[in-house]
């Protein structure tokens, strides 16, 4: 339990690390909005074409899906960066240690993911408004969105959970010093899973254990447990790393 209790020095350092991680939201949001913006622009062309040609069309809400995909890309990059030499050097300009660094980055990233998903939710409202305006000019437009307040909250939570797992996985995988060894293990696992059905099945069952559709509660419990395990593993891998 000592690992979980924090003294004054650790609390101060944790606050600093979280604030530092949150300051990145501007940069993250910038690229996030570019990705979503480009996707929305492409979607808009089809809408304009539809209005001009007076076609009937069924349109599905796509902002949230695009947003989760964009967030996924951003989060993988953040996870990889967290384990990088440069990032470690930047963080250790201020008084901190590896435990606080890992914990602070995890908390900061979860908050950043929530902010990205909130941003995507605002874009969903914009999307609905745009479609409503267009449908005035083109009564043949049918916009389908199955989002209700209840399933929105569940979706938000599941996306947050999944993205937190992805962040932790990318951080943990690259936290080790020996990247060549990691590549070798991944290649070996892939080759073995192709060659031996038993290994393939074992790996697939392992993945299924976490992503098998079941109750939201059970999935969340398993996923957050995985988040903590991956971060602890990542911590152990960078614990003795020097800040060069």
């Amino acid at each position: 339990m000592r690992w979980l209790s924090l003294n004054q020095n650790e609390l101060r350092s944790l606050r600093g690390t979280i604030y530092y991680a949150l300051l990145y939201i501007r940069e993250i949001a910038f690229y996030f909005l570019i990705i979503i913006g480009v996707a929305t622009l492409i979607g808009s062309f089809s809408l304009v074409y539809m209005v001009v040609t007076d076609q009937d069309l069924y349109l599905y809400s796509r902002v949230l899906n695009t947003a989760v995909l964009a967030a996924l890309i951003m989060i993988i990059i953040i996870g990889v960066q967290t384990s990088s030499k440069k990032e470690l050097r930047l963080a250790f300009i201020f008084p901190t240690d590896k435990k606080i660094y890992v914990l602070g980055n995890l908390i900061g990233t979860v908050i950043n993911i929530s902010l990205l998903l909130l941003m995507a939710s605002l874009l969903l409202i914009v999307e609905i408004l745009v479609v409503k305006v267009i449908s005035i000019f083109n009564p043949g437009l049918f916009f389908t969105s199955s989002i209700t307040p209840a399933n929105y909250l569940i979706g938000f939570w599941l996306a947050l959970t999944l993205l937190s797992v992805i962040y932790s996985l990318s951080f943990c995988l690259l936290a080790g010093k020996n990247k060549k060894l990691l590549l070798l293990i991944l290649v070996a696992l892939t080759t073995l899973s192709f060659s031996f059905p038993l290994i393939r099945q074992g790996l697939w069952n392992f993945v299924l254990f976490f992503i098998r559709p079941e109750s939201v509660l059970l999935f969340s419990l398993k996923a957050w447990l995985l988040v903590f395990v991956l971060n602890i593993l990542g911590y152990m891998l960078i614990k003795n790393r020097e800040v060069i």
């Binding site: 004054q8 606050r15 530092y20 300051l23 940069e27 930047l90 250790f92 300009i93 008084p95 614990k239």
Partner: protein, 296 residues
């Protein structure tokens, strides 16, 4: 009060030995100068104190603990590196806010006054600052941190003479009100000479000497006189340099002159004067053999 002890510490990076068998003790509220040529191991020495690097062999103890990945030690320490690069995308004011969170003795008033004095715009991105302005940000953070152990690695890089002078006077003023342990590595020894109470000189990863500044100022002397009277005096003396000017000879020797030597100097009308620290540093840290070259 911080106590730093190196016990036969060696630090290797693959095939390079950056520090070799360093044993010394740095303690008390003092301003300590760390002197050495480029690549002599100064930054490695400081990074080891700051807990960024592990010893390959031997030991380092700061306040009774190993500083590596040790937040108890880190919290008492502010390390301003010469290659410090704060995140480029952050504004100056955000960096100051960040520092205020991290350092428990942070003096917000001092930081605000210094930003104003040096005309640093808080809204400017760190990456848009010139080299000199970046150094000023580092200086401000180092001073306002009021950390019991403040380490400056080449703090005056890129600063003009006037700003360097102001930095030294600010440092001295702040130190006199809030005594603490400050370690400064610098090439500009003559400028920082008045600040330092103790000097550590490193040469090729080895500890060359550790002395009080007043002892170091008397460490070597110039002897200037007629060649035939100066030359006998140089026998069995540690000679750093000699230069012939016609019938005169100017020699730089270690100041371990006996009373008999001093009598000889007086009787033979040989001028004697102390060697400025900057020059002494060049003599002491120059490549082996260079000290004995005839310069004339």
């Amino acid at each position: 009060m911080t106590e730093i002890i190196f016990k036969d510490l060696t630090k290797r990076f693959r095939h390079t030995t950056a520090l070799s068998h360093i044993s010394l003790s740095l303690g008390g509220n003092k301003i300590i100068g760390l002197i050495g040529r480029n690549g002599s191991g100064k930054t490695t020495f400081l990074k080891t104190i700051a807990g960024h690097l592990k010893a390959s062999s031997g030991e380092i103890i700061v306040n009774g603990q190993n500083p590596f990945n040790n937040l108890n030690i880190q919290s008492e320490l502010c390390f301003i590196q010469d290659e410090t690069n704060y995140p480029d995308e952050l504004k100056v004011i955000e960096l100051v806010r960040l520092a205020a969170i991290y350092y428990k003795n942070w003096d917000a008033e001092l930081a605000a006054d210094l930003l104003k004095e040096f005309k640093l715009e808080g809204k400017k991105n760190y990456e848009d600052l010139s080299r000199g302005m970046k150094s000023i940000v580092h200086v401000v953070i180092g001073l306002a941190s009021r950390a019991p152990l403040t380490i400056y690695d080449e703090p005056t890089l890129g600063l003009d003479a006037a700003v360097r002078k102001r930095f030294y006077s600010l440092l001295l003023e702040d130190y006199s009100h809030h005594p603490r342990n400050i370690i400064i590595s610098s090439h500009l020894i003559n400028e920082a000479e008045n600040l330092m109470e103790e000097v550590v000189i490193i040469k090729e990863g080895r500890l060359l000497l550790q002395q009080k500044i007043e002892e170091l100022q008397q460490y070597a002397v110039y002897l200037n006189g007629r060649k035939e009277v100066v030359e006998p005096l140089l026998e069995q003396k540690e000679l750093y340099e000699q230069k012939s000017l016609g019938r005169s000879l100017i020699a730089v020797v270690k100041n371990d002159l006996t009373s008999a030597d001093r009598d000889y100097i007086r009787e033979n009308d040989i001028d004697i004067s102390s060697v400025p620290l900057q020059e002494l540093f060049i003599y002491l840290t120059g490549p082996e053999g260079e000290e004995y070259d005839e310069m004339a």
